[in-house]
């Protein structure tokens, strides 16, 4: 049972869009924040490729998306992971995939864990981006999960 993975994907899309708005509120977009935003989006795609057992060499180098490229990637990631989760059974989500990680170790992970990880990783860096936005004179995004529920009226699941 994965009670909230799809919710987490939708929350993540909302939060990343808030993050983009917050970067726009800065007199000048702080490069450290843009690097982090690019990094979390790249990690989403990296994990997507792991799940699909694709060649990971293309991720050996950072993409370093521009701000405009980041904005364009957000809905693509939403679409890709939504489609993935809608098509997956519990058994498929519990399946493990084996891959070589960034330091060359062969590791085995459950698909559901990889999906949770990549979106939890986004939250981690959004926290850092919020600090960088504040330091740059912008308005940090308030990207709590609870706020997503309130703002999207997702509320009671009814």
């Amino acid at each position: 049972m994965n009670p909230s993975l799809l919710d987490i994907v939708k929350f993540n899309t909302w939060a990343n869009n808030k993050c983009v708005e917050s970067l726009r509120s800065c007199p000048g977009i702080p490069n450290e924040a843009l690097i982090r935003l690019s990094h979390i989006l790249e990690n989403n795609w990296y994990v997507y490729d792991i799940i699909h057992e694709r060649d990971l060499h293309k991720w050996d180098d950072d993409r370093n998306y521009t701000f405009e490229e980041c904005i364009a990637e957000i809905p693509k990631i939403d679409y890709a992971f939504t489609e993935l989760l809608q098509d997956m059974t519990e058994e498929q989500l519990a399946r493990t995939v084996t891959f070589r990680n960034v330091v060359g170790e062969v590791v085995e992970r459950r698909i559901s864990d990889l999906i949770f990880h990549t979106f939890d990783h986004c939250t981690y860096h959004r926290g850092q981006i919020a600090s960088l936005v504040r330091n740059a004179g912008g308005e940090p995004a308030r990207t709590w999960f609870n706020r997503w529920i309130t703002e999207t009226e997702r509320g009671t699941k009814s």
Binding site: S4, A94, T96, E108, R109, D120, T123, Y124, F145, T156
Partner: protein, 175 residues
Amino acid sequence: MRAEDLDACLRCEVLTLHMNSYYGRLFQFDRWANLEVIGSLKTCPEMPRKAVALLSHYLQEQWVAHKLLTTGQATNRNDIAELSFEQCQAEVEKLADAWRNYLLGKSDEQFETSFTYLNAVGRPTERVVSDLLTDIVDHGTYHRGQIASLVRHAGGEPAKTWFTRWVKETRRGTS
């Protein structure tokens, strides 16, 4: 779910996760990550006060949520005092025990029930139990990212608190 069944789920010996084992894993991850953060703060030549304040903040918020879920009572945030580093250390283990006890015996249906409470600004708010639990874990991750930056700036070694790292270090990855 019996305690031994829950333990088996937490060790990933069964494939189908019930809600309490799903959240049980997340709170175990949260405990591990918080202990890693505490370890990272100890590596700083001088502990950054802001980082301890953030740690205190999200631990205290866990108690606010726990009280809400177990008693239905909201906490007056004016009553919340900032914890010292030593108090934070102690609270991590207390919270881990509290969440474990809270989750034990809960049915899937109980996680999907909603309840209404007055939020921090006094507005009636309706929430589903599972959503509040997800928020708690996510909130901790958010501030751990900020603490890692503060630790780095303070000359310490930031904690690497990725979920997959927890899976690896605690060998909870595969069945």
